[in-house]
């Protein structure tokens, strides 16, 4: 696995618009025995437990797991928006203590600023960096073009569809020219067609810019379609259960038998986690069986009709 990926990465770095700032040998993002818990119902819930990751410069990794497994928490900690209880995150060997402009997050709800136009949103980061208005405008317009929204540069977010909002969020993140894109289920709320289109566009952007991407999703097909590596995170506590190398070149075909068999393998493992979450949430044993609706033994179907 390592050999092929190193090969692929070398090519990517060569393609990148600017030279990589670190040597290939040194990992870009390292997560070291990270722990995080939250107060919950008077007690504490361990959300992340002993998380270790090492991500290379320019790599596309996916964090895959059921809802509530702590994927978003991990993204927030890497972003520096949240602090771990124990362990640390290193970027180029430097520990993360606060948000940095080298790491930008794209959220599921896009989180655009509703009082700014598309252009205003994309310009926001450079403006905060004190970049002159002419320069940042030109750059913003270029990025808006990259995400195919030139016609909507002066539109406000409320006038855009969900997919368009996510495109703006991606352009807004790229305007910071970050080394790392942290994506927290960015396409989770979109319909299948729009999602597929944005996935392809994201891959193109990734290949063109050589950014390191950490992509959170609960969708196996999405994770295996995008990531060079997929980390499966277990539910409560969130631990890295498996790391899968997706050693297939982009663009990947959805019907590629190697991809399908990998998806089957991951789905099987993920199913156990989903059952755990279901049991946690409903307080009942849950055995996923095909063709059956999960039901409590003490159910009284139609009682309240």
């Amino acid at each position: 696995m390592t050999q092929a990926l190193t090969e692929q990465e070398r090519r990517k770095i060569a393609e990148a618009t600017k030279p990589a700032s670190s040597t290939e040998a040194e990992p870009h993002v390292v997560v070291e025995s990270l722990y995080k818990s939250f107060a919950h119902n008077g007690g504490r819930v361990e959300v992340l437990q002993e998380i270790n990751l090492s991500i290379r410069q320019g790599e596309f990794v996916c964090l895959l797991g059921p809802s509530g497994c702590g994927k978003s928490t991990l993204i927030n900690i890497i972003a520096g928006l949240d602090a771990p209880d124990r362990g640390r995150v290193l970027i180029h060997g430097q520990p993360v203590t606060r948000p940095g402009v080298d790491r930008v997050v794209v959220f599921q709800d896009a989180s655009l600023f509703p009082w700014l136009t598309v252009l205003g949103n994309v310009e926001f980061g450079p403006k905060m960096q004190g970049i002159a208005s002419g320069e940042r405008r030109a750059k913003a317009l270029e990025l808006i073009k990259l995400v195919h929204l030139s016609k909507f540069a002066n539109a406000y977010p409320y006038q855009l569809s969900g997919g368009m909002k996510q495109r703006v969020a991606i352009a807004r993140a790229l305007a910071m020219d970050p080394e790392i894109l942290l994506m927290d289920e960015p396409f989770g709320a979109l319909d299948a067609q729009t999602r597929g289109m944005l996935q392809r566009e994201l891959l193109e952007i990734w290949q063109a810019t050589g950014k390191t991407v950490v992509f959170v999703t609960h969708n196996v097909r999405e994770a295996t379609g995008l990531g060079e590596r997929v980390f499966e995170i277990s539910a409560r506590p969130g631990r890295i259960k498996h790391a899968y190398a997706v050693d297939l070149p982009q663009p990947r075909s959805n019907s590629d038998p190697r991809l399908l068999s990998l998806q089957q393998k991951i789905l099987g493992s993920l199913g156990e986690e989903i059952a755990k979450v279901m049991q946690d949430e409903t307080g009942l044993p849950y055995e996923p069986q095909e063709g059956r609706v999960a039901a409590a033994p003490d159910r009284a179907l139609g009682m309240h009709i």
């Binding site: 709800d109 009082w115 409320y158 807004r172």
Partner: protein, 219 residues
Amino acid sequence: MPGAWTIAQRLVEDFHQTAFVHALGGSLRRMAIGYVLVTAIGIVGGMALGRFKLLDEVLGGVAVSIHAIPGAAWVPLAILWFGATERAVIFTILLGATGIVIVHTDSGIKEVAPNILRAAKTMGAKGINLFWHVIVPAAIPRIVDGLRLAWAFGWRALMAGELLTSVAGLGQMLNTVAKARQLDQLLALMLLFAFIGASVDGLIFKRLEQSVRTRWGLA
């Protein structure tokens, strides 16, 4: 009880009288001055409470308490301090309506959606930049809600102030016609209060609120 037609006729006649136009002008001027002060003090005060935790702990309760006192209850104190003057009326508007603006601005600033703040922070916004370019604009829908309510509260406080002072205005006129037992005139004036209050609310504030809510994606 005079009929609607009589009241309407009376209203038309009123507009031909210098004293009435003078009173109406005086009331509107006081309301305008009072409302500008309410807006300025309310927004600045609310922002200060929202931004500085210590200030909020010391003065946050005061703002809520002031907001709990009806505007009319300030009139006696206003007269004690300023005499039965125009200043007393404006003071009454100020105390009657500023609290609601402070409370709304403050809560708007504290309740900015967490992801909006996170997004801004990852893009390098912090300190005063974060406050001006993110937190304040994000709070605008709440601030507008506060301003709309402040208009209604201020308008009531204006009437209370004018009823109890002898400053030339609609409130004082109401007193005069009531003493003279001119019921048609009294009802005509009350109708006018309702009309002005509701028109400003409907034509200005409701529209403003609607357009803000649409743009902020809340409608």
